[in-house]
């Protein structure tokens, strides 16, 4: 690879790559396979092998391009085919057995396999030959999942080959870096980022430009640029998708930040549980170094910047910036009080700037398109877009990027497609295990930093978990608390001991041993943890409990007073009953029951023997007719009757 010694070199290379790509495309079709962690888990590896086999069987000279996650997790594995002069066509939920038919029909015969085709991307690679749109096939922006999305951080995810710097450059990659280091002063970049209103996408929502300015103004050298890629929330994978799907956007963003604040070294702190992301980052760094887009004299300027990867070792608290830096230094990942802020005294007590993956990934776009473009999206105080990992009891699970200010309802019902299996929506948890849950009445809350906080949840890093009627909110809160308290570093008293005591109380309630005083106690501990803990982990640990107690107090009271878990989750606090009118005697439940508690002859309503039932819920899950229902335990009902 030649070294790029000027912005002109970069521009020439871009044109050159596009030209080669165009030439190649006239002779060979492009096949894109979604090869993110989620795609691979869904079987993309086997799909890709089958494609290769089929291509060689037919002696087709096609280019198979592995791409990152396009966000439609529910539709993985995804295979896209693009023929010369035609739009890119997406096939979803592709099984290896379907590959021969797709290849024969689409590549050999040149027809879209309509029964399997999912959508088309006519605007993809705008610099390729003009394409005629396929008829009767929706474009991505016409799909409900995509129509409300605007992709900035995820712009290239699922579109380009993350292991090819050329692919990134062909999509205007590193143009922002070139503009920044050769055409803008440090102050101009900081001003641009400040004006854009970009707030840290890690969760706290601090203004990125202001953070950069602090670090720029701080005395002392060397300075460090650090990327927090220690995404540890259960149910969140936004950062992973960027790292796996578009690593160069992170590299470019960090290099721009390095130039702006005057740093020459950068660290990417990535959790070790993301091996694919680490591998792709390493590859991306070495490619950028070969092009001279990292290292000394970037693009022929006097600016030098090197990037290193540091692997985390399994500690959620290292997502806190001071703990993260302690971990890079090789110490226990314990946070320390701020001030001093990292901008003044960070890594090895030198000025350091820590941002989330998405914040850096958005930076090049802001530099390229200007702050006004970014500000034009979102709300006044939360500009731009937000990335969410939409999971839980929702039809279209996946990764989405939406303009700030969109409502939760739009995300859940329009993008997410609502709740599957005709179940009822119960709550949506934002902000991961340190966030909070919101009930149906809050669904019209706009999604932005301030509104979510005011409503009782948080923006967090981007986990969004939707739960339906079958989720017990007490147990849900207990689950997050178990996670958060196990991840407490143990340094400060409120978090170390408060989390444990809170967990004990919640466990007691889910076991039917709670009292109404416990609810006061929860409130008391929670408020004090929030006020007194050293870092955000301790301050936010009680978040899910407080939110669920605020919005679902009646569920807590049912557990305590009636010894009843209305969702049928907490063992021993409910029983199952078969509704005679609904049951058609299909026998599915009898087969599923592990304890032989269900009896009944075919086509007659079945009965559950409560003495044998162990409340495992297997029957409830298999019944298609909603004939099995959750009721309080018989003993409890009798007890209440006798007391009355």
């Amino acid at each position: 690879m030649p070294r790029l010694n000027s912005p002109k070199d970069l521009a020439d290379t871009r044109l050159h790559i596009r030209q080669i790509c165009r030439e190649q495309h006239t002779v060979s079709p492009f096949i894109y396979v979604g090869m993110g962690t989620c795609g691979i888990a869904a079987g993309a590896g086997e799909v890709e092998q089958t494609i290769q086999k089929e291509l060689s069987a037919h002696q087709i000279d096609a280019e198979v391009i592995p791409v990152g996650c396009a966000g439609m997790c529910a539709r993985e594995p995804l295979v896209d085919i693009q023929l010369a002069g035609k739009p890119r066509i997406t096939y979803a939920n592709v099984k290896p057995s379907e590959i021969p038919e797709i290849i024969t029909e689409h590549i050999i015969n040149g027809n879209i396999l309509t029964k399997k085709a999912y959508a088309q991307l006519p605007e993809h690679r705008h610099w390729l030959e003009k394409k005629s749109a396929a008829e009767n096939l929706p474009s991505y922006h016409e799909l409900p999942f995509y129509s409300k999305q605007i992709r900035i951080a995820l712009k290239n995810c699922g579109m380009i080959n993350p292991e090819s710097i050329d692919d990134y450059i062909s999509q205007d990659g590193y143009r922002a870096l070139s503009k920044a280091v050769t055409g803008m002063s440090q102050e101009e970049i900081i001003t641009e980022i400040k004006d854009s209103g970009l707030r840290g996408r890690g969760g706290a929502g601090f203004l990125t430009g202001v953070k950069w300015e602090f670090c720029y103004l701080a005395k002392g050298q060397p300075k460090f640029v650090i990327c927090n890629a220690d995404e540890g929330d259960p149910g969140a994978f936004m950062d992973r998708s960027v790292l796996e799907g578009d690593p160069h956007s992170l590299l470019e963003g960090m290099t721009i930040a390095g130039y702006a604040i005057g740093a020459q070294e950068g660290y990417i702190y990535c959790r070790a549980e993301y091996p694919l992301a680490i591998e792709r980052l390493k590859k991306a760094i070495s490619q950028a170094e070969q092009y001279g887009l990292l290292g000394s004299n970037i693009l022929g300027t006097n600016f030098h910047f090197n990037l290193h990867i540091k692997e985390g070792a399994g500690a959620f608290v290292c997502g806190e910036e001071t703990a993260l830096m302690a971990s890079i230094e090789g110490r226990r990942g314990e946070p320390r009080p701020r001030p001093p802020f990292p901008a003044v005294s960070g890594l090895w007590e030198k000025p350091s700037n820590v941002n989330n993956v998405k914040s850096y990934a958005m930076t090049p776009q802001i530099i390229l398109n200007g702050s006004n473009w970014f500000k034009g999206m979102g709300t006044e105080r939360s500009t731009g877009t937000a990335v969410f990992a939409l999971t839980g009891n929702i039809k279209n699970t996946g990764l989405i990027e939406v303009p700030m200010g969109i409502t939760l309802r739009e995300i859940i019902y329009e993008i997410g497609g609502g709740i599957p299996k005709k179940k009822k929506f119960k709550a949506v948890q934002t902000g991961g295990p340190l966030g909070g849950c919101l009930p149906e009445t809050a669904l019209d809350t706009p999604v932005d930093f301030d509104s979510l906080t005011a409503a009782g949840a948080t923006m967090g890093s981007g986990g969004m978990i939707v739960v339906d009627q079958d989720t017990c909110m007490v147990e849900f809160a207990r689950y997050f608390l178990t996670f958060a308290s196990a991840e407490s570093c143990g340094k400060c008293v409120p978090c170390r001991l408060g989390g444990q005591r809170l967990l004990e109380i919640l466990t007691r309630i889910t076991q039917g041993g709670g009292t109404l005083d416990d609810l006061e106690e929860i409130q008391y501990i929670s408020e004090n943890m929030r006020a007194a803990s050293l870092c955000a982990l301790g301050q936010l640990t009680p978040g899910p409990v407080m939110a669920s107690l605020r919005f679902f107090r009646e569920e807590y009271e049912a557990h305590i007073v009636d010894k009843y878990c209305p969702a049928g989750v907490c063992k021993g606090l409910y029983s199952y009953e078969i509704l005679e009118i609904q049951c058609r005697g299909c026998g599915l439940c009898i087969k599923s029951c592990p304890s032989g508690a269900i009896t009944g002859s075919k086509k007659e309503p079945h009965v559950i023997d409560q003495r044998k039932c162990i409340q495992c819920g297997a029957c409830y899950d298999v019944c298609n007719l909603e004939a099995i229902t959750v009721i309080p335990k018989l003993e409890t009902i009798e007890e209440i009757r006798t007391n009355n």
């Binding site: 070792a313 500690a315 226990r332 592990p594 495992c616």
Partner: protein, 165 residues
């Protein structure tokens, strides 16, 4: 630093070859704050972090042993006890319990001479008991090296496990 006492671990000399450390330590020589990558690499080589290895790292890098232990016990990734090559997790949640998980646990224990939570002396198997994997319809069940075994029976699961290398 006190000398390593070989009596602390009867397997020390047979199983732990400190030679492998040299390469790791050379690679990170002079790097600031390289404790965690060194421990990660050492664990990759040895499968866990034996006391001897930590002592050797401490001696050679002059990082106090106490600090190494503080770090190694802080991060979830690090293991201080050796585990078997095959990790057997048997569910003993309510559904599995009533469907006969205890019998399977007992059979596995007898066949390989291990207690729940324990590891066989040849470090082939580690037996762990878990509580509900959320697949009660398949009870009783076990997960062996990430592979799910549904409706297990004492004899069959033992046979299945014996087939592993």
């Amino acid at each position: 630093m006190r000398k390593n006492n070989p009596r602390d671990n009867p397997f020390a000399e047979e199983t732990i070859d400190l030679k492998h450390l040299e390469k790791i330590l050379d690679e990170f020589k002079g790097q600031k704050g390289a404790i965690i990558p060194v421990l990660q690499r050492a664990q990759y080589v040895y499968g866990y972090l034996p006391k001897e290895v930590l002592q050797a790292i401490s001696r050679k890098t002059r990082v106090p042993l106490t600090r190494l232990y503080g770090v190694a016990t802080f991060y979830a990734q690090f293991r201080l006890a050796r585990r078997g090559r095959h990790i057997i997790r048997v569910c003993d949640g309510t559904a599995c319990h009533v469907r006969g998980a205890p019998q399977s646990i007992e059979a596995i224990g007898k066949a390989f001479q291990i207690e729940p939570g324990g590891t066989t002396p040849d470090y082939k198997y580690t037996l762990e008991i878990v509580y509900c994997i959320g697949s009660c319809g398949l009870a009783p069940m076990a997960v062996v090296n990430e592979k799910v075994h549904a409706n297990i029976e004492p004899d069959k699961i033992v046979d299945e496990l014996k087939k592993l290398d």
